[in-house]
Symmetry: D2
Subunit: 165 residues, 4 copies
Amino acid sequence: MRRHIVTVVGAGRSATEADTKMARILGGLIAQHGWVLLSGGTALGIMDAVNQGASEAGGLTIGIIAQADDSKMSKYVDLPIFTGMLSGRNIINALSGEVMIACGVAPGTLSEIALALRADKDVVFISKESDDKAFIKKVGGEKVHLVDGPEEAVSLVEKLLETEQ
Amino acid sequence: MRRHIVTVVGAGRSATEADTKMARILGGLIAQHGWVLLSGGTALGIMDAVNQGASEAGGLTIGIIAQADDSKMSKYVDLPIFTGMLSGRNIINALSGEVMIACGVAPGTLSEIALALRADKDVVFISKESDDKAFIKKVGGEKVHLVDGPEEAVSLVEKLLETEQ
Amino acid sequence: MRRHIVTVVGAGRSATEADTKMARILGGLIAQHGWVLLSGGTALGIMDAVNQGASEAGGLTIGIIAQADDSKMSKYVDLPIFTGMLSGRNIINALSGEVMIACGVAPGTLSEIALALRADKDVVFISKESDDKAFIKKVGGEKVHLVDGPEEAVSLVEKLLETEQ
Amino acid sequence: MRRHIVTVVGAGRSATEADTKMARILGGLIAQHGWVLLSGGTALGIMDAVNQGASEAGGLTIGIIAQADDSKMSKYVDLPIFTGMLSGRNIINALSGEVMIACGVAPGTLSEIALALRADKDVVFISKESDDKAFIKKVGGEKVHLVDGPEEAVSLVEKLLETEQ
């Protein structure tokens, strides 16, 4: 009855077209595995794209919304959780996924990675930047898993969810 | 795609057997209407019972968990959102339901009713105590809807959700 | 070195002139006793007035600000704590005072009273409405202390702070 | 009347003796400049040491406490603000200082740096690790100021506070 929840974090306004294309693929893969997608739920960048990908593949999506209403929310969020806490809601993103998949190191995203590591959560880090990878690995040690793209990320999450049980 | 979410709040430890029986019926009715149940998700009293009722009727249940883990969580929660904020999470319960159904005036419950009214949300208040009803009505005015039991509560929620659209 | 902190909660926009006059007196008395005033810190109603009273009497004032900046803040707040959590910050008001003095039952204020009682804090309730007094007393039992005005409130706080030590 | 507040963040349990010695000096310098110190207020590592340094130099100290009570609190905190939000309180540390001084990149500290940058705050980063410095600078751009020790940090804060006015 309890469903697997996977958190995805990544840039809003600063996401590139390549980022959002990757995020749509990632969302689709999460849905195909039967996992529930949890994200910040904003109608921007990686957050919007990963929700679109999951939604179009028939998945269930939860948005932990920074505002108290849906004015900035992705239309691909099925279950909005309104916090009104701005970036204060990042801790909830970090705690609520069994695993976090993180795309890049924009400040908001970096705060979510760090909060997840603080709470001893596994973080699967997708990046093509080798210095970013080295830094996140240094901070998080064995809880950080470095990958190059969405397919590799999702098969790692699959293993991590099996190990937990 | 976006689902209707109804928040239910009520006493944990201080709930009576009559309270929990009523809450199981309420949860069942919410599920039968196809609404998603959102609650504090604790394995106690009204929270546990309303989740059980919804779950056994095939509904989907979200728990906004006061702890950072599932140690005190109802086993009838499908989608746990971990906050680690103790009663700080009550604001999220208040903001995230389109309508709140409140059972009684234990301190935690009263805080959720008051936060919902502060955010201009409709509150359907189930109680047999006439002085409690009079007080909540005085505080919340036309946003407070007084009812005697779960059936009446649910048909009121039905009307409120129709009006919103 | 650690200072006594007293939380004051009360209506913003809906406060009457009599309320704000009373709150200025209350703030002055808190400062004269050497206690630090903690409030929501908004530039409205009882919050603004109690900070003015404390500040003009030479006291130290802390504001737990609902916004992430000082755009709606009382100019009588010495130490602003920015939360960006809207009413989510009410839990901090409830937890951070050794005692809470509450004026009236506007929804925001009522949520703070209820959160304080939930956390087993003493609440000194100033009101002239006998039904409000009866209700708050019923909810909070021996943790609720009913008084008619600021002088009586402050001498009760004095006793409560002595008892704690 | 409104006081300058400077946030200091840094490791708890993982702080070295050199870190805590540096933090005591930093706290002393903050107090000597007449600024109020704001920190997470835990009785560990850099947090405890910076409060000790400020307190022994006659400064005023605010602790944004992760717990709902003082069980893990530094005895050098004058004004405890209890949140009960665990790492959820990190956003308050980030928002409430006019400037943040950050020591190192332990996960909790890194989340506070990232949240401050997300809120467009200046961060003065004290570190001897050149790759950490390069990474934080890359994430935060012109809002990040790299320094080698407490004296340099404090003279930078002095300039930043002057510029703001």
